[in-house]
Amino acid sequence: MSMTMWKPTGLAMAAIAATAAVALMVPAAMAQRDPAYEAARAAGQVGEQPDGYLGYASTPTPAVRAIVDDINIKRKAAYTSGAPGGSTVEQFAFVTGCNLINKTRPGEKYMAPDRSWKTRDAGAPVRDSRCP
């Protein structure tokens, strides 16, 4: 077995750097939901609440509870760091929640303003009257 030893040239180094940059950027730009989270949504175990957080549409298993807790903590951090000046974290979370309920797919759960869990169908979801 022979091994070719070579010194990286400037060009090769640039190519490696460019490849590394793309490798770093792609997951950030195309980050997808964790499969377990996606499955819990599809199964209707978790749903979107009007306040911008996830809730349990049915009694959660410890695994589902862990998923929801983890995501809600991350959402809270995102709302906290992302709330534009002149608005509160709760307000930013609420408007995001309006959007998240809109984006639920048929079969997924969301909470209506009367706090009842609904299953999204082909029609528009029942949302808070203040939603944009």
Binding site: A31, Q32, R33, D34, Q49, P50, D51, Y53, G55, Y56, R65, V68, I71, N72, K74, R75, A78, Y79, G82, P84, G86, S87, E90, Q91, F92, F94, V95, T96, C98, N99, L100, K103, M111, P113, R115, D128, R130, C131, P132
Partner: protein, 51 residues
Amino acid sequence: MIAVAGLSGCVQIETPDKPIEINLNINIKQEIVYRLDGDAKKLIEQNSEIF
């Protein structure tokens, strides 16, 4: 078995299931709703793994 059951009972008491508080009585003016809508959409797009 009884010891195990008792232990799991203890664990549950020590980590009570805090119900997620849902605040639907949020105070927000319509102009703020519309002003935040674009930022909310951007946030969802840029953090798709948690939404």
